[in-house]
């Protein structure tokens, strides 16, 4: 079986996943990183979103065997010894979550957007997160939480 070397949240890992296993399977079942959630397993809900080489993808639609040399960032990779990432804190401050199932994906989408466009409009935020479903919040506070950081300078994650 093929051996794959990749980094997850800057830590190197060597894996030999069987070919049908996805990045989401490996994160949750082998690496103990359960931040990325399994919602639909079909690319439709965004709960499994992670950053792959800096870009958000649905980890349920990426085979782990494909990831030689890849750099993966999950929600566990945000923040640091000094505390939460500013966007994480903003989600708390703006009441942008209820059950929290969509939250890791939403926050990583916010990070990805702000990396490529530090000052998005509200419409741009809404469009960017349109591949992420939330059953609870009605989205308003999620958009507010991202806009609050967009207005206020650089994040620390």
């Amino acid at each position: 079986m093929k051996t794959v070397t990749l980094t997850v949240n800057n830590r190197p890992h060597t894996l030999t996943p069987s070919p049908e296993r996805t990045l989401l399977d490996v994160l949750r079942e082998d690496l103990g990183l359960t931040g990325a959630k399994r919602g639909c397993d079909a690319g439709e809900c965004g709960a499994c979103t992670v950053l792959l080489n800096g870009k958000p993808v649905n980890s349920c639609l990426v085979l782990a065997v494909e990831l030689s040399g890849a750099a993966v960032v999950t929600i566990e990779g945000l923040g640091g010894p000094d505390g939460l990432d500013r966007l994480q804190q903003s989600f708390i401050d703006n009441f942008a979550l209820q059950c929290g199932y969509c939250t890791p994906g939403m926050i990583l989408m916010g990070k990805a957007l702000l990396m490529q466009n530090p000052h998005p409009t509200e419409a741009e935020v809404k469009e960017f997160i349109s591949g992420n479903l939330c059953r609870c919040t009605g989205y308003e506070n999620i958009v507010k939480a991202i806009m609050a950081v967009a207005g206020g300078g650089e994040g620390n994650g």
């Binding site: 049908e20 079909a42 690319g43 591949g131």
Partner: protein, 281 residues
């Protein structure tokens, strides 16, 4: 269970495809294939990752064409085409696929090869007159996109053949196009109906998506616009001709009657939008 392969060249892809026949599938972004496998609709024994073939991740722009490699994602394509307003119709179509996350994985070639009647990029590729570059045991061949897809899920690809690139001819300067689609929600849903319109010099092309087994051209409307130019009246007449050309089905996304009305409205709106953009009628 399947075996996973990382071919390094098109020749290797072709020899693997020839050896394994129907039990092999090419894996590009996997956004169609992996979902179909999970639903049990495809059960390949061999997956060949096309993204490991060197060179296919490139976009080559020359004086005559822009060639988009088979491993180029929709997201990368969108960004590249931002510098080419004449290809705006394709850029809009790429942008309307699924979500940011999917567009970072899904390829243009995969959208085409999956051959869904609702695939967003196909009507845009049709109005641009795109050609599909195919590699096989006997070398390369070029097939016009309109002849590439033969029915839902069916293409002209023969055993051992693989798409290496999508080739866009360079339209004359000042050419402009518009792609419009309507779905039940703006993201993550296939189009209920879609329309691509394109004006190059005095010539027009109109193609409809999701209203027939394959994309349909509305040639009578194209001739009318070439003859009489774009006006509110000819846009309305083109819409009427599009409604007549559509052969839609009824499914969860809409009834056949609704689709016919919808596609007519999309054609009219797309033409009027193009008129406002100031394209030469």
């Amino acid at each position: 269970m399947f075996a996973y392969h990382e071919p390094q060249s098109l020749a290797e892809v072709t020899s693997l495809l020839t050896a394994y026949g129907e039990s092999a599938r090419i894996l590009a972004g996997g956004t169609d294939l992996l979902v179909q496998m999970r639903k049990g609709r495809q059960q390949p024994h061999h997956l060949l990752n096309i993204k490991t073939v060197s060179g296919l991740e490139q976009i080559a722009a020359t004086e005559d064409s822009v060639e988009i490699g088979a491993a180029v994602t929709l997201g990368e394509g969108e960004r590249f085409l931002a510098a080419y307003p004449e290809y705006g119709v394709l850029r809009q179509a790429m942008h309307s696929v699924a979500s940011v996350q999917i567009r970072h994985r899904a390829t243009l070639a995969g959208n085409l090869c999956n051959a869904s009647p609702a695939a967003d990029t196909v009507p845009a590729l049709v109005v641009l007159g795109a050609k599909i570059k195919i590699h096989g045991a006997r070398g390369d061949r070029l097939v016009p996109v309109e002849r590439f897809i033969t029915g839902p899920g069916r293409t002209v690809l023969l055993t051992g053949e693989v798409v290496s690139a999508v080739v866009l001819p360079r339209p004359e300067s000042g050419s402009r196009g518009v792609y419009l689609r309507k779905a039940r929600r703006p993201s993550l849903d296939l189009a209920t109906a879609s329309a691509a319109v394109f004006a190059a010099g005095g010539a027009w092309r109109i193609a409809l998506g999701a209203v027939a087994p394959t994309v349909v051209r509305v040639r009578e409307a194209e001739r009318l616009l070439a003859r009489e130019g774009l006006s509110a009246a000819t846009a309305a007449e083109a819409a009427r001709l599009a409604r007549a050309e559509a052969k839609p089905i009824t499914d969860v996304r809409g009834t056949a009657e609704y689709r016919r009305e919808l596609v007519a409205a999309l054609v009219e709106q797309a033409l009027l939008a193009l008129g406002e953009e100031g394209a030469r009628p």
